[in-house]
Symmetry: C2
Subunit: 177 residues, 2 copies
DNA sequence: CGTCAAACGGACTCTGCCGTCCGCTTTTCG
DNA sequence: CGAAAAGCGGACGGCAGAGTCCGTTTGACG
């Protein structure tokens, strides 16, 4: 496999950029035609680099998830597990908030390795916080991501912080009576 | 407008039943063909009674929402606003749990009068509970429905009770420190 | 510069779905 | 019973989106 021709490289970059933008704005259901139009190429060019629309989606998601992975690594390295967890949640949500359609895209890539990796890291963060007593134990680590993701995804853009705040409150262990 | 022929009445009933079942199982995106197949009629018969697929969806939703409306009325009539709210939430979610796709169908019928009516009733229930001090005041009544609906909709079937429990905990006013 | 493989994109196919049409069947009612 | 009206559903049209084909263009390289 030799290197791509320079025009092909440029087009590939444009496609990835346009796809990231389009998926972020409109979610995973934007048509390939729309992406190609944004990239200024024919849609056949998209399919030459990515065998299916799904492959393109996964490529974009993997790219965007790198930032989240960095946040997760930092959270796992931090001293206070409880604070690390809430800070991780806020930072990650802040990222998703910039690209509103991304969450739905990630949902559709659950089988993807990269997505699984993030999920696994997130679970570790939760487990650490649970062991430290910062999160109630009657919910599985995986469900915590679900819960927060769902609330974030459904909240009106202006209100998501308050909604997430409420869930975080609910996740704290009930004070002993 | 004279009455329907008896065979037409029977088919109409079958279509409504099949549609309710299909929408509940598979969500609002089941094809009209699928519904017609379940009802044992041609899909043209469906379109004869309902001008569009959306009209059929709305009819089904209106029908199913009657039960929810009854719950809401009961909650508004109850003495303790706080208890009435939580009981209403649990009862309504129990209904949606039986027909998992229904929630998404309701989402798609937000403009429908019946849906608006339920939303309005739900808001009144929340307002009452807020006035009674059972729910924190830093969230709008409409957002409470959003929040609970989102969590319920995204939760794995076996876990939704726990997830809703957590949100309810988060919705209680923070204990004064 | 000239050749050739790589890349391009418009046109095409295929699939799934909504909604309509029209010739045939069934019910109704005198 | 028999005509008229109501109902039926298979076939059709149209649309949108995914993925393919192929004649044309363009960059790589001697």
């Amino acid at each position: 496999m030799t290197a791509l021709r320079v025009d092909a490289q440029r087009n590939l970059a444009r496609v990835l950029e346009a796809a990231a933008e389009a998926f972020a704005e409109r979610g995973p259901d934007v048509s390939v035609d729309e992406i190609a139009r944004r990239a200024g190429v024919g849609h056949a060019t998209v399919f030459r680099r990515f065998p299916t629309k799904d492959a393109l989606l996964r490529a974009v998601v993997r790219q965007r998830l790198d930032d989240v992975a960095a946040l997760a690594d930092a959270a796992l390295a931090a001293e206070s597990p409880g604070e690390a967890f809430t800070e991780y949640v806020w930072a990650a949500m802040e990222l998703y908030a910039r690209d509103r359609g991304l969450l739905e895209c990630v949902d559709r890539c659950l089988k993807d390795e990269k997505t699984q990796e993030i999920l696994s890291l997130s679970e570790q963060i939760v487990v650490r916080a649970q062991k430290a007593g910062a999160i109630r134990r009657d919910i599985s680590p995986g469900d915590v991501s679900n819960l927060i993701g769902a609330v974030f995804g459904a909240a009106p853009a202006a209100q998501w912080r308050r909604h997430v705040e409420i869930v975080l409150d609910g996740l704290r262990p009930p004070k002993p009576v």
